[in-house]
């Protein structure tokens, strides 16, 4: 069986051997990067600099909360708002693989800038097993390029350090619990963020729509779980589809976009079953999204596919 305490001891010892000098960690505030930061912090202390990039594709209030988390953990951190640059680079881009690669490369270029300025040699990433498995290469097919693996540029100056490479999320959570990290039970959130929850071009306007829809889905599902109406899914969110449909809102014809709601059960994201959400919960989500997003959204569908054949995220 996987033993978190043993893993922590071995990982910290290995990091002490591997990293000599300053290191930068790509810090999203999710379970993986937070666990990674805690481990590297144990190994090299103040030599570690956490960098959080606000890509503009973060969830509602996310970057604000990450700032608080970095402070609470006592990390030496830098906060970079790059949202305008990201929106500019993704203008007109519709292909999901292109989106992922542009976002991945941009992350690295931002990290390199910080590293140059502060004379940092190492880049620590919270890469876990499904990231490199799905990114493919050699024998394996590319299912999707995870921004931290398949999205990495071919040429980069920083030396990569990835202490969680052989772990799955359920194991990372065990490590997080053993380190008393408050983020241990957070749902996964992809590095490219909301950009891959918008099918088609990820414009700032569409981002606002999907951000609000994701917020509503999270909020309603979490409160349903609290009331004991359902089990906590592995991941739950909204996807904005580029499809328009006819509706009627206030006696007038409406012609708005469709939101797909997704919730799945899994322990490691390698296989998933869609969550059997109670109808009353779906009903509430549907009404709340259409009422608050008004003429922009007039139809909600629920995704009932397992993985395989689908994946958790739509892109």
């Amino acid at each position: 069986m996987f033993k978190a305490e043993r893993f922590i001891d071995e990982a910290v010892a290995k990091l002490k051997e591997e990293v000599h000098g300053k290191a930068l960690i790509a810090f999203s505030g999710g379970v993986d990067s937070t666990v990674c930061a805690a481990l590297v912090n144990k190994a090299i202390g103040k030599q570690l600099i956490a960098v959080h990039v606000d890509t503009g594709y973060m969830r509602k209030n996310e970057s604000k909360n990450v700032k608080k988390l970095m402070e609470k953990m006592g990390l030496n951190y830098r906060f970079i708002d790059a949202s305008k640059e990201y929106y500019k680079d993704l203008k007109g881009v519709e292909d999901p693989e292109k989106k992922r690669k542009i976002i991945g490369e941009k992350f690295i270029r931002i990290f390199e800038k910080v590293a140059d300025k502060e004379k940092i040699e190492y880049l620590v990433q919270g890469t876990i097993a499904p990231d490199w498995i799905e990114s493919g290469g050699q024998l394996r097919d590319t299912i999707k390029s995870h921004h931290n693996v398949g999205g990495l540029p071919e040429k980069m100056k920083l030396k990569l350090v990835e202490p969680l490479r052989d772990l799955y999320k359920d194991e990372v959570r065990k490590v997080a619990r053993s380190l008393n990290l408050t983020v241990s039970e957070r749902q996964p959130f992809p590095g490219p963020g909301l950009a891959i929850r918008i099918i088609g071009e990820a414009t700032p306007e569409r981002t606002e729509i999907v951000r609000e829809a994701c917020y509503i889905v999270e909020n309603e599902i979490e409160s349903a779980v609290e009331k004991g109406l359902m089990e906590m899914p592995w991941q739950y969110f909204a996807v904005l589809l580029p499809v328009k449909s006819v509706g009627v809102q206030g006696d007038r014809r409406a012609y708005g976009y469709v939101i797909a709601v997704r919730a799945v059960h899994s322990i490691d994201a390698m296989t998933c079953a869609y969550s059997k959400i109670p109808h009353e919960v779906i009903d509430k989500i549907s009404t709340r999204i259409t009422n608050s997003l008004k003429d922009k959204i007039n139809r909600i569908v629920y995704d009932v596919t397992n993985k395989p054949p689908s994946t958790v995220e739509w892109e």
Binding site: F2, Q138, D141, C272, K307
Partner: protein, 190 residues
């Protein structure tokens, strides 16, 4: 400690097979399918898992040196998905594109009791992901399980401990997947 290696044929779940074995306290490692049989037996292994992968065995693709392992091994082998299909073709059976490919949730029906399925009920849920399948058993093999759309979900050599399964016992959503691995480990311990 029993030692079972996983041959990587490029599957999405190769690393899950490794993890399942490691969680069962097996001494395990992932090796590329280009490793020679000679180098493999130098490691004194007690068993081998042939993982799935992208090759379309139904369309004549190959799996590295897997043929050599199947021919020369005196230890148990478990072929999974493409590993199972390759095994079927290698021993003289037929592999063809599935009339109805299966992805995700499927009901497995056991046809025959065997030590690989000890503790697994006659009907259980398994997870699938395949475009091809073993359509005709090789001589000296018997079918151990089927599903609605696939006649050969599991097969076994009549006199050797060589097994093939079309479904994926290594993933979380296969109800008795871990039990099947426990059984295979026991077979390797003998």
């Amino acid at each position: 400690m029993v030692k079972i290696f996983v041959v990587d044929n490029g599957g999405q779940w190769t690393h899950r097979e490794w993890r399942t074995l490691r969680d069962l306290e097996v001494d395990t490692k992932i090796v590329p399918n280009t490793i020679s049989f000679e180098n493999l037996i130098k490691e004194n292994i007690d068993g081998l898992v042939l993982s799935g992968g992208t090759p379309r065995i139904g369309l004549e693709d190959d799996l590295g040196n897997s043929g050599e392992y199947l021919q020369k091994a005196n230890f148990p082998i478990l072929g999974i998905c493409a590993g199972h299909q390759f095994m079927g073709r290698f021993f003289g059976g037929l592999v063809a594109p599935s009339k109805v490919p299966e992805f995700g949730k499927v009901e497995l029906i056991l046809l025959k009791q065997d030590s690989l399925f000890e503790g697994v009920p006659e009907k259980s849920i398994v997870w699938e992901s395949h475009n091809d399948e073993v359509s005709h058993l090789p001589p000296n093999f018997e079918a151990l399980a089927k599903s609605e759309n696939c006649k050969i979900q599991a097969m076994k050599h009549k006199s050797k401990s060589i097994y093939g399964v079309q479904f994926h016992p290594e993933v979380e959503h296969t109800e008795y997947g871990e039990q099947i691995f426990i059984n295979f480990v026991k077979i390797c311990e003998r």
